[in-house]
């Protein structure tokens, strides 16, 4: 099974799985497979949510555009 999905990809895939299983045209074997994949995706999503640390960056203007730098809002209060 796909191990390194982004959260976005995981949720999109999850949605696709739900749709596929709902239309009811898949074989039982396939359904079982989808179900297993769905459970694993949910686990991955939950894990990502649990581990998430918010990244905040600020754009800084340079000669040729913008650069991102870490931003800590609390320092600027």
């Amino acid at each position: 099974m796909n191990k390194k999905l982004t959260f976005e990809q995981a949720t999109e895939r999850l949605e696709a799985i739900v749709n596929e299983m709902e239309n009811g045209k898949v074989t039982l074997d396939k359904s079982l497979e989808l179900f297993e994949e769905g459970v694993s995706l949910v686990k991955q999503c939950n894990a990502m949510l649990d581990k998430a640390e918010q990244k905040v960056s600020m754009l800084v203007k340079t000669d040729d555009g913008y650069e991102t730098t870490d931003f800590n809002g609390e320092n600027n209060g």
């Binding site: 959260f7 739900v18 359904s31 999503c45 990502m48 998430a52 960056s57 809002g73």
Partner: protein, 408 residues
């Protein structure tokens, strides 16, 4: 009080009011004065003259603007509007009240801003910039959120705190911008352009609360066009709940405050997890349903198979056999009874033909001495011995005479 004996003139009320009036009118300051204040108790008299008071925090002054001046006003004054009015102070002797006789008036500060705001709002509305069907939906799960605001206000801190609490998986990218003053609109516009060139899932543009002048950058016409043109959904969060800016109207969603904007764009992690659990439950029930469905099908198949099982086939054959044998038996009975009937009919026919039976009815059979049957008198001669057979015995007799042809 009576120390001075110098006689003072005694004024009538009219005289003193007239005196005051002249005094005021002769004052170089009061005869040509500009006053700023807020209009209240505004009445547009049917005569065309305008009557109202100007006030500030501590005082009021009665004002009148005659029709001849009022008709050349460039705006419609109303209560609550701040204005700069020019005219003279004088007295209306009948009422003994001094008044401000205004001959020209301009919207002032917020007043003039309000006028400009209303005009721009109507214009953009007419152009369709506020149309509901042009509003883009917000993403369900934004992974990147572009924020255009000041890197120093409370607004950015509130937004970071809220999104950290609700959905820390989203990355916040701050495009620092002035949020008030002359340079603000162009920086805000640059922010929108930047996030359209370097796409994020959703943009929040805004600032914390402030005076109406502070928020004015968000009523910029060019900013309105930039917000409208953005391919990425924009949430506008300017000031407090009671502040409405042009930017709010054009944006895809208005949030009453920056904090509310952060709440609006981010899903809540706990709710998200709950949703995932629901999905699993849903998938599971869908799977169960499928399995149940399959099981029923198998059951139905099994039932249909039983009908054609060898055992059942044997039963069938046995039944057929029983049926056939019964059929056969009844056929046999029928045939037997038929034969019986035929036999008895033949037997009775046979008995009818039995010569002995004929003899019993009174006939006799005549034989010669050798046992041959005599059927004609011609075969018999007189005195010949014959035997006559009756049904119960034989007679030996001798022929006495013969009569021929008696019965022919």
């Amino acid at each position: 009080m009576k120390s001075l004996q110098t006689p003072k003139p005694i004024f009538s009320v009219s005289e003193i009011n007239e005196f005051i009036k002249l005094t005021l009118e002769n004052s170089p300051t009061l005869s040509n004065v500009t006053v700023s204040g807020e209009i209240s108790n505004f009445t547009n008299h049917k005569s065309g003259h305008l009557y109202f008071t100007l006030k500030d925090d501590g005082a009021i002054i009665k004002c009148v603007m005659f029709k001849s001046y009022a008709s050349s006003l460039g705006f419609i004054p109303q209560s609550g509007m701040k204005v700069c009015a020019h005219g003279r102070i004088s007295v209306f002797p009948r009422d003994g009240q001094y008044q401000f006789y205004i001959n020209s008036m301009m919207p002032d500060g917020i007043g003039s801003l309000n006028v400009a705001y209303e005009m721009l709002k109507n214009k953009l509305d007419g152009m369709g910039l506020f149309d509901e069907d042009k509003k883009k939906p917000l993403p369900k799960i934004p992974m990147t959120i572009g924020i255009i605001t000041s890197p120093t206000g409370a607004a950015i801190r509130d937004m970071i705190n809220i999104s950290k609490r609700r959905f820390p998986l989203a990355e916040l990218i701050l495009f620092p911008s002035l949020v008030q003053g002359e340079g603000a609109p162009s920086q805000l516009i640059s922010g929108i352009k930047y996030f359209n060139e370097n796409p994020v899932d959703v943009i929040i543009i805004g600032r914390g609360g402030g005076s109406i002048e502070d928020l004015w950058a968000f009523n910029d016409e060019q900013l309105a066009y930039a917000v409208f043109a953005s391919k990425i959904p924009i949430v506008s969060a300017v000031g407090h709940e009671t502040d409405f800016t042009i930017c709010d109207y054009v944006a895809d969603r208005r949030a009453p405050t920056p904090s509310a904007a952060a709440e609006l764009v981010t899903p809540e992690t706990d709710k998200l997890k709950q949703q995932y659990n629901n999905i699993i439950t849903h998938l599971k029930s869908s799977l169960d349903f499928q399995i149940k469905n399959r099981r029923e099908k198998i059951c139905a198949f099994e039932n249909s198979r039983q009908l054609s099982s060898p055992k059942n086939q044997l039963e069938d054959k046995r039944m057929l056999l029983i049926h056939l044998s019964e059929l056969m038996q009844s056929k046999m009975k029928f045939i037997c009874s038929q034969k019986e009937t035929l036999f008895s009919s033949n037997a009775s026919k046979l008995s009818a033909l039995n010569p002995l039976n004929i003899l019993s009815r009174g006939y006799g059979a005549v034989y010669d001495e050798l046992g041959g049957v005599l059927t004609s008198v011609n075969a018999i001669s007189e005195n010949q011995t014959i035997n006559v057979k009756l049904h119960d015995g034989d007679i030996k007799a001798t022929v006495n005479s013969i009569t021929r042809g008696k019965y022919e």
